[in-house]
Symmetry: C2
């Protein structure tokens, strides 16, 4: 940074943040699609009387995503927490849709 002026540095930070904002918009829109699909799964589970949570399925998802995260250079532990965060929200939706608790 020694050769970089303050204006150049500010410009560089701004450019990075613009990319972050683009990525965040993409995340929001793709998450919206994910919840549309899990809404269908929730309706299916409610009709079929299947429990909202499916620990075996979740275990497979976590294992697969941890591997993908390693390939992508993303922290697998963070990725697992991330998936858990999403799934917890999905399960809340499933309960609302009328799926029985697995307990």
């Amino acid at each position: 940074m020694s050769q970089e002026s303050s204006a150049e540095a500010t410009e560089r930070l701004h450019a990075l943040r613009t990319s972050i904002d683009n990525i965040d918009a993409a995340l929001v829109f793709i998450l919206a699609e994910r919840f549309k699909i899990t809404q269908k799964v929730g309706a299916f589970k409610a009709t079929a009387g299947l429990p909202a949570a499916d620990p075996n399925r979740e275990e497979r998802q976590i294992s697969r995503l941890r591997n993908l995260a390693s390939d992508a250079g993303l922290d697998p532990d963070f990725t697992e927490k991330f998936l858990r965060f999403i799934i917890d929200e999905v399960i809340r939706h499933h309960y609302k849709a009328g799926a029985p608790s697995s307990l």
Copy 2:
């Protein structure tokens, strides 16, 4: 579902889950790119002596993403929690990279 056989129902659930798995892979790869960019922001902040957290920037991000979420049919409150979850991880990385605390 009354006209649907059990095999058809299982097939339908499988198809939905395949789409969820594709979306999750996309999320992992796009998150990996997001952290690559925030890593550059972290290095910048450490060099420039800027604090790891930037509450004004975060407030603008949350407000923008809540609006995008509404457009996309995604729960704005969940979206805010989601962004906070990501930002908390980013701030942890920034501290590791040597950015000073804003406290």
